[in-house]
């Protein structure tokens, strides 16, 4: 087990390094540079050269790469944002909270609802309920996420103005008491989390239905039924627990997709999270921020893969000794 973990960790670190290296050179070799934005009459060529010197952009690329890697690996120093002149680590830390909040709320909706609907469909295959769940989930799954968000804004913020359309807080919410402040946050969270969660729930329901159907045809389920267990126990303990295995794999592997899914949602709802931060940073060629968020997404992928293995061992005793 420890050798397995060691090997996995080494592979994970290698992958991280690879992603970071590739991203570093891609970002720097791409057309456009962080000073391109300041291309107006007020900035002279001499000033530009000076700025490049300050940020170290005048050095050869391999030297920049090694210096950057050294700072990151040895000192955990992600540098200073070119645009905001603030520590990248601080900016990431600030954006992490909103993204986690949105992602967790959406995940709860996605897996809660998706599991229920998928099980409901698989228990009665071929019935109207099954076809309805399959059809509706296919319809929702096929919607563009960003358009769904816009339509939600159109319906619930503009036509019937009951929920706020964007941002995480109302103006002046910081002065409120704790409870009203939380309620304000919840109202802002509701629309983006529901859109992201319902969209995901459609995919999860389809997946759960498929894998549970397969399980319910297995002989051990027939055995469980034959020995007189209640249908609820057969489905939820003997069926769902086994159907969870592939679902866990999918869940863990989708952790990184969360960042890109949240990116679109965050852009539509002006949610101040990591997705928006990345998006703006890429457009501004803010190299340090881009590299840091890419590193984070690579960490999420690697962590997701490790998590998948660990969770599967936990859910399936058969895999533990392997």
């Amino acid at each position: 087990m420890s050798r397995f973990l060691l090997r996995r960790s080494a592979a994970a670190l290698l992958l991280l390094l690879l992603v970071l290296t590739v991203t570093f050179f891609l970002v720097h070799l791409a057309p456009g540079d962080p000073l391109g934005q300041a291309e107006d009459a007020h900035v002279t060529a001499a000033q530009k050269a000076h700025l490049k010197e300050i940020y170290g952009l005048d050095r050869p690329l391999p030297v920049q790469y090694l210096a950057w890697l050294q700072a990151v690996v040895l000192h955990g120093d992600w540098g200073i944002s070119f645009v905001d002149q603030r520590s990248v680590a601080t900016m990431i830390a600030e954006a992490l909270g909103p993204t986690l909040l949105l992602a967790l709320a959406a995940l709860a909706v996605q897996y809660g609802l998706g599991l229920l609907l998928g099980v409901a469909a698989a228990r009665r295959p071929g019935t109207t309920a099954d076809h309805l769940i399959r059809l509706v989930s296919l319809l929702v799954y096929s919607q563009p996420l960003f358009w769904l968000g816009l339509m939600a804004i159109l319906l619930f913020s503009l036509t019937f103005p009951i929920l706020p359309a964007s941002h995480m807080r109302s103006v002046g919410a910081a002065d409120l008491q704790t409870l009203p402040r939380l309620a304000d946050l919840g109202r802002h969270l509701l629309l983006p989390a529901l859109v992201l969660g319902l969209h995901g729930a459609a995919g999860t329901a389809r997946f759960v239905r498929g894998s549970l159907l397969e399980i319910l045809n297995k002989e051990y389920v027939t055995t469980a039924r034959a020995k007189g267990l209640s249908e609820r126990r057969v489905v939820w303990v003997h069926g769902v627990r086994n159907a969870l295995l592939p679902l866990i794999q999918v869940f863990a592997l989708s952790l990184s997709g969360l960042l890109s899914g949240a990116l679109v949602t965050e852009v539509v709802f002006s949610w101040p999270g990591l997705g928006r931060l990345t998006f703006d940073a890429v457009l501004d060629r803010d190299y340090p921020v881009v590299l840091a968020t890419t590193a984070l997404s690579a960490v999420l992928v690697v962590a997701g893969n490790l998590l998948a293995d660990l969770l599967q061992g936990w859910a399936d005793p058969r895999l533990r000794d392997a």
Binding site: L15, L18, V19, T23, L26, V27, A30, P31, G32, P125, G126, D130, H131, R134, L135, L138, L139, Y141, S142, Q143, P144, L145, F146, W147, L150, M151, I153, L154, L158, G210, S256, G257, L259, S260, G261, L263, V264, V267, V268, T278, F279, V282, L283, V290, T294, S297, A298, L300, V301, V302, N305
Partner: protein
């Protein structure tokens, strides 16, 4: 107990409503494809034409404006036109103007001969949303289909090479696929497109080049299992070359699941192109693509809801159609997933 006679004249269709949905998918995909091909015939206007934007901009669906053809060759749009003895009285944005009869080319007994109909409204440049939605179908379908073609070709090539190239090639290719699957692709693709601003063909290359891994795994698995079958052994024993066996025996038999997966991938890639365009990274304006139309509409959603709503609806219907087609095909072709 089903009556055996029933099967003779009532085919299995009645017990498989997804067969009906397959038909719906085929019809819908056909309709969208036809609309895209026939866009120049169907579109009421040129998708980028801006006729008199001062009057035509941000008009709600169903607006009909009179089009006055002036002597200098330009067009002017008006909400109302009234024929007067001297010429024409027109109302533009509530303001009345009069034109002499000699100034107007398309004068009739009651007004002017031409109308501009904005069936789905107009955007802020006075362009016709319906025409842009129709032309946008071309972009979405072309990018989606070509990217899927690229992904499927790459996937089949890599999968076949891994399955037939011996253990070393297999391990090398499949570990590469594992590593590529572990990359945060969606994220990196957004990064790449944002950095390099690809246009047209490069968008297709980027999308297709990063989504072939699933197909390659499937192709490899299918070929590996087919390889054990007797007809392949027979082909080998009569001395057919490996490539000929691949082309004539393995691929034709493996094509069904690959086709199903490619169809389902197509839906995702169409969505993905639209998401990139929405973020301003895919097909850029003024070329109408559903993604960049929704992006333009998002800015004015509070005042002109139709600009974002209709291209999005077209996109949703297209992807639903493609997914119905994929699911239906899978139900029909793969007995393992058939609904009981």
């Amino acid at each position: 107990m089903p009556d055996p006679r029933e099967r003779f004249w009532r085919p299995r269709r009645s017990r498989r409503p997804w067969g009906g949905l397959l038909t719906a998918g085929v019809i819908l995909v056909g309709a969208v494809g036809l609309a895209a091909l026939a866009a120049p015939l169907l579109a009421p206007q040129d998708p980028n034409e801006q006729v008199d934007p001062a009057v035509a901009h941000d008009r709600p669906p169903g607006t009909v404006l009179a089009a006055v053809h002036l002597a200098d060759g330009s067009w002017r749009l008006a909400e109302r036109v009234v024929r007067t003895p001297a010429g024409l009285a027109i109302e533009r944005l509530g303001r009345r103007e009069t034109l002499a009869a000699g100034e107007v080319r398309n004068l009739t007994a009651t007004g002017v001969a031409d109308r501009r109909r904005f069936l789905l409204g107009s955007d802020r440049f006075g362009r016709d949303v319906l025409s842009r939605v129709l032309y946008g179908a071309r972009v979405s379908l072309a990018v989606g289909c070509l990217a899927v073609l690229l992904a499927a070709t790459l996937g089949v090539a890599v999968g076949s090479a891994a399955a037939l190239g011996g253990p070393f090639v297999d391990a090398l290719l499949m570990r590469t696929v594992d590593a590529l699957l572990a990359f945060p692709w969606l994220f990196l693709l957004i990064l790449l497109t944002a950095l390099f601003r690809p246009t047209g063909w490069l968008v297709i290359l980027f999308i297709g080049g990063t989504t072939w891994m699933g197909v390659s795994r499937l192709a490899r698995a299918e070929i590996l299992s087919l390889r054990q079958r007797e007809f392949i052994l027979a082909a080998r024993s009569i001395g057919q070359r490996p490539l000929a066996i691949l082309w004539h025996h393995l691929l034709p038999n493996a094509i069904t699941p690959i086709l199903v997966q490619s169809t389902l991938l197509l839906g995702n890639l169409i969505l993905f192109e639209a998401a990139l365009s929405f973020l301003g990274l895919g097909i850029g304006p003024p070329t109408p693509s559903w993604g960049n139309m929704i992006s333009e509409g998002a800015d004015v959603i509070a005042t002109s809801w139709w600009v974002a709503t209709f291209p999005g609806a077209a996109l949703a219907v297209t992807v639903i159609a493609v997914n119905l087609l994929g699911e239906g095909l899978r139900d029909r072709l793969d007995p393992r997933t058939r609904t009981p």
